[in-house]
Symmetry: C2
Subunit: 367 residues, 2 copies
């Protein structure tokens, strides 16, 4: 507890960070609002130019007929699955064991929508075509998360996606995309968003990961689907009188960052290589397929907390504020490259990694 | 349709408005953010100084042990009722036939929480002690909305509230306050918020009615209750990564307007009197008990749409952008006084009402 706070405090004081777009503070919203005329009218319960324009813009980008802005992905995705379950009359969906709905939403899908889940694949790998084909129970919808965040942002190859999509269509199972980090994987697949989304019946994307907005999500699909999602948005309490603080920040940051995803991806590969050159450190995946990966240390969390805090103070570069324990002698953190990475002078960055490697070696009497 | 838009367009072009705090635009948020340092850290999934400080401040103001910030009242109130129903094991609550949950939420309470409602009182009057005492079915919770918005913001007398509260406690029925406009009724009751809230087990208040913030709500009660509400907030998709755009605007506008409610109340009484002096116009209630009331015209909506649009153009003062039909020859609108009212020069205001009365008389050949 004390140690964790020490690491977080030490991280907050650093001038540079290897991940992200900088500290999440009020300035992010101020900067977005500075690009907008104060006289611009607010949206009103899902209507008005600001929300309708952004929804149309995103529908076009994603290659879908229609799109709806939601305050959160949690809300958008539960609703998508509910619509597909109601349509088919089967209250069961299939997804990865580490799906956001399974582990981060306090069982909202079960408690609010009475929808059961079938868990596909082992938790340490991505879903394969075989996992889907071999499902024993009938489901209304299969959800794929691209990339699979909780295992470092891994991806199936594109042929697997096409295979799963074809199979689901042949079996009248809807395919939903958890695209919280969809923009971030396009450089790896070398596809447009619309090309990837064409494989799915419904798509959710987020605006506060790689895009760096304040909050908010888009749910896209056919108009009959999004119309129903608006009714559920009202039921969930998500049809706020005005969502424009989130919409404006989503819109301006989307414009600013959507074309930087290639650079974030390349930087992630470079950064992962720097980690992998250190003793007792490895990344998952070894070579990133998006802007994210996990950094694993073969060291107890307490030792790494102290060691990282010391290195932050020495170099003025932060790596993470939050190490998570995976075993008695192992811990890890999630890294996502953003605007911050390129602001670090290269010699400072190399100094950071040589110090990290050196201190780990010292700690383990490696000569 | 064309007529309605004409009225709305005409209303939007007016310099002065008799109700509200002015047009809802981005400037409202910009003004709030101007009062905050850009370096202020964002809240993170319900934690952090900005959200915790505001929750504590509101808990104290409402005289409750604990308070939780929600993106919307729809979400907060469904959750409050769900907690009370789960606790008692009876999925039934009682409220007014025109309760927000019954008519504005697409049956979220039933579709998401499987909670049934018992409708108390005739829809044109407020709930009495007798209505509650004579309930035939057992319920987990009674919800009172103060003031009862859909009938012009009427209020029971304070003794009735005390009676209902005592009765519910004796029967182990929870009492929940829909206090969307709680701040607005304190001058009439001559009570503090904490005194009114002491009669209730759980309380919801809103920050974009009289307070004039962008959006957002507080749900307050005992800590065991609010802790459960946080879990449900996550399930609903309301535990956003950052709610600070709403919190900051709620907080700054609360400070700015909480002590103006007496003035809004007095202005509502004055304004209602001006309406009641006109032919074929009456307000409900005749004498307002908060900052709100309904203005009824004994005229067909189409005629009043044209007439009001004409008067707005002539006087540069708007009354409403939205008339609602109640019968073939009757229509009404909701009025809520705010900052705008006092900005209207008094002679202009009297000119508006003499023109309104004159034009209605002309239309009806009243000499």
């Amino acid at each position: 507890m004390g140690e964790k706070n020490l690491l977080k405090e030490s991280y907050r004081k650093t001038k540079y960070q290897i991940t992200g777009h900088g500290i999440r503070n009020v300035q992010v919203l101020k900067d977005a609002l500075d690009q907008v005329d104060g006289e611009q009218e607010s949206d009103l319960y899902g209507e008005g130019k600001v929300i309708e324009d952004f929804q149309e813009k995103m529908a076009e980008f994603l290659g879908k007929e229609s799109a709806v802005f939601f305050p959160s992905g949690t809300m958008a995705q539960q609703i998508a699955l509910r619509i597909w379950c109601d349509q088919k009359g089967i209250n069961r969906v299939a997804y990865h064991p580490l799906c956001h709905l399974e582990i981060h939403e306090e069982e909202g899908l079960k408690k609010l929508h009475h929808i059961d889940s079938v868990l596909l694949a082992d938790k340490n790998r991505v879903i394969t075509l075989e996992d889907v084909v071999n499902m024993k129970e009938d489901v209304s919808c299969v959800l794929l998360e691209l990339p699979q965040r909780e295992i470092g942002g891994q991806l199936p190859d594109y042929e697997t996606l096409v295979g799963i999509s074809d199979f689901c269509r042949s079996k009248e199972i809807k395919l939903h995309l958890d695209g919280a980090r969809l923009f971030e994987i396009l450089p790896y697949y070398k596809k447009t968003a619309a090309e990837v989304c064409a494989l799915f019946d419904s798509v959710y994307v987020s605006f506060y990961k790689g895009i760096g907005g304040v909050a908010g999500a888009i749910l896209a699909g056919e108009k009959s689907f999004t119309n129903q999602s608006k009714v559920w948005k009202r039921r969930h309490g998500g049809d706020l009188i005005s969502l424009n603080p989130y919409i404006i920040s989503a819109d301006t940051n989307f414009d600013e960052r959507k074309d930087k995803m290639q650079k974030y991806f390349e930087n992630a590969i470079e950064l992962a290589e720097l980690f992998n050159q250190c003793n007792r450190v490895k990344t998952i995946p070894e070579v990133p397929v998006s802007n994210m990966f996990h950094v694993h240390f073969d060291e107890p969390k307490e030792r790494m907390d102290d060691l990282l805090a010391e290195i932050y103070r020495a170099t003025n570069i932060g790596m993470t504020g939050n190490l998570r324990e995976t075993g008695k002698n192992e811990c890890f953190f999630e890294a996502s490259t953003g605007d911050s990475y390129d602001s670090i002078p290269k010699d400072k960055l190399l100094e950071l990694f040589s110090l990290l490697d050196e201190r780990i070696k010292e700690m383990n009497f490696i000569i």
